[in-house]
Symmetry: C2
Subunit: 406 residues, 2 copies
């Protein structure tokens, strides 16, 4: 029954996809039938792998498994499903995840230690193994027949569009690709969202270098977004480099380090932006920029307090220049600042000057009628800044989440 | 123009109202015309007074003024308006509040140091003094003509019903009354809501005893409710005891201390329950009880994490027994606990037993179809517990708040 690995190892054939990665999707009807809900990513050779995981103390079985495996720094395959998070499923959940890994191993001939597993969906429901087991075989049989875009579709839950971002990086005369896909939509909060994100590159990167690059990149992208302040049990970010391009592995001292890091930052920032744009029920992207803070931690705290405020988010939704809610959120953010020094801009309109109304609320209401709204807060207390992305809070957020499980 | 104080000093005439307090309301058309939006509470004599105020670092002008005055422990009148919070209004805001106090003083002949002021409503808009000044005169002229219920109506913002609770306390052969009124509705969060609450009693209580009683009582009532996690700039709780009953002032050692404290706790708990019931857009009251915690602080943190979760609140709204969201909220609450020891009950239905599904989700969905839903979480890690009240999150919350200011 072993399907085996394809024998040809190809370099990237276009500027959208890293070479040496194969994809497959199948329907396991995990939550309900009618869509591809399980997927396989396979590197043609062993890859360097790095990752980041939810900081929620309640972690799904697959998260715990990946956190163990990733210590080795190597991997070759990722199996992922939507529709069921395999969280709060006890010992059976762990067994199910390991059983799936062993099935993949059997069909592909890849050592189980190199196979990673991710799940997203409902918490607390056992995995429907009777439907997953045959689907894993289908996945293995069809490896290479799906595209990265198919994978991005298969991992969607309440997402309304698939999220893929790619960047080309010139490495000497060649060029390689970094591609990332992710799913987000709800339960999005600081310290990773309910987010699964897989980043692949055919450019060789030394594992420790990749790990520290990814950490820094995630800190300023995925860790700076919030949709509803809820933090998931399943957040997983995995990055694989298979080195198919044949370059000398990039280290911190390589000439290619900075261009590669820049491309990676673009991929993670753009993906996190797409997650927020697709926030459950969202009609607007909100960028909260806090500057003039005493330090970056204060800037981040203040930006998150504003970005997580239901009252601010509903006001933006209603084009209501209700900046008092922003001021109130700053006031309970826990940072030290002087109300009478604070300026607030909605779009380009300065609504608050030195802590009081600048009498431009009407213009500001118009500025809010945009699909992308920037709230700028200048605390005039220092030189640090932080930007957090969020979205508005709408009736549809409530509708989507009131009807999610049942 | 001085209206002066009425000369008769009356004891409580019924079992609903403390004696020696006089009320008045007027229309100042502060946000819009058509309702009484300014009110005056006057004690016939000097009262002991104690209070609690928002911990938001952005405090409205009247809050800052009350915090100064209350150090004296005495007071006689409270002037309060809805429609404008007089917050983020700079020096003008402070001057406006003091001007109003001096007007009240002039008309009533009460020393300004004994007059407290509270405001609730929109932040950042200057007070319409041209309409408030004549209304203050009307208030003074009509003192004694309004009821406590009229005051409770005048302080409403997005509240849908006035909130009054009274308790009788037997003091020897006499009995006195504790009455409280409050407004709440939105921006309700731990450490006081946008809440104004005035408690009056004709029973004499020694000021320091009242202060410590009130603090303890608020900790377990107003500080254990949350509607949207937003904390206001204006929260104010004031309690006045005018001692008209003529009893020996109650101290910690009095025989009447415990019955009085019990009645006060009932008033604050019932008022805070009414605030949550009237949460913006709320269709259900949710009681989150965390027990078996290592200590009270853990229990409180866990209960607040669950009570503030938008995902939990929308699930309750949708009768969706999605207990995974409760587990996820416990996981990011920051407390130490063991997932595999945790039980969760929705109503009386144990949906989670030792961290995993108890296969009773359907029954639990039915349990959620109640106007009052209790979520019980037993961490089995200790003997401490805490209860937090909140409400569901609905499309109407979004609607109310998207259209509030403009």
């Amino acid at each position: 029954m072993k399907t085996g690995l394809p024998h040809t190892v190809k370099k990237s054939q276009n500027n959208r996809m890293p070479g040496g990665f194969l994809f497959s999707t199948a329907e396991a009807a995990i939550k309900k039938p009618g869509r591809k809900d399980i997927a396989l990513i396979l590197s043609e050779g062993r890859s360097s792998i790095a990752g980041a995981f939810t900081t929620n103390s309640v972690k799904a079985a697959p998260v715990k498994i990946c956190m163990q495996k990733i210590k080795s720094g190597t991997g070759q395959a990722i199996i992922v499903n939507s529709g069921n998070a395999n969280a709060c499923t006890g010992k059976k959940g762990t067994k199910d995840a390991n059983d799936i890994i062993h099935l993949v191993s059997k069909y592909l001939g890849v050592n189980p230690s190199l196979i990673y597993i991710c799940s997203t969906g409902v918490i607390g429901t056992p995995m429907p193994m009777e439907r997953i087991v045959p689907a894993v075989q289908t996945l293995a049989e069809n490896i290479g027949k799906a595209s990265l875009s198919d994978i991005a579709q298969a991992i969607m839950t309440t997402d309304t569009f698939p999220k893929i971002v790619s960047r080309k990086v010139k490495i000497g005369r060649d060029s390689g690709i970094i591609s990332g896909i992710c799913k987000g939509a709800g339960m999005i909060a600081p310290k990773l969202a309910t987010m699964l994100c897989f980043i692949m590159t055919d450019i060789a990167v030394e594992q420790k270098t990749m790990k520290s690059m990814l950490k820094d990149s995630a800190r300023k992208s995925f860790n700076r977004i919030t949709i509803d302040g809820d933090m998931s049990t399943n957040d997983t970010l995995l990055m694989m480099s298979n080195g198919i391009l044949g370059n000398m592995p990039i280290t911190r001292r390589s000439e290619h380090f900075l261009p590669f890091k820049k491309a990676l930052d673009e991929v993670t920032c753009e993906l996190s932006r797409l997650i927020v744009k697709d926030g459950e029920g969202a009609t607007k992207l909100i960028e909260v920029l806090v500057k003039g803070a005493r330090n970056e931690s204060d800037a981040e705290k203040a930006a998150f307090a504003v970005a997580n405020s239901n009252l601010v988010k509903t006001a933006v939704y209603g084009n209501d220049a209700n900046w008092g809610r922003i001021m109130a959120a700053l006031g309970y953010s826990g940072i030290k600042f002087r109300e009478e020094k604070t300026d607030i801009l909605l779009g380009n309109i300065k609504v608050v000057k030195k802590g009081i109304s600048n009498n431009r609320d009407k213009e500001a209401s118009n500025a809010l009628r945009s699909k992308e709204v920037r709230i700028t807060i200048d605390l005039h207390s220092g030189n640090s800044s932080a930007k957090v992305l969020t979205c508005d809070l709408t009736e549809d957020y409530v509708r989507v989440n009131a009807e999610y499980k049942t």
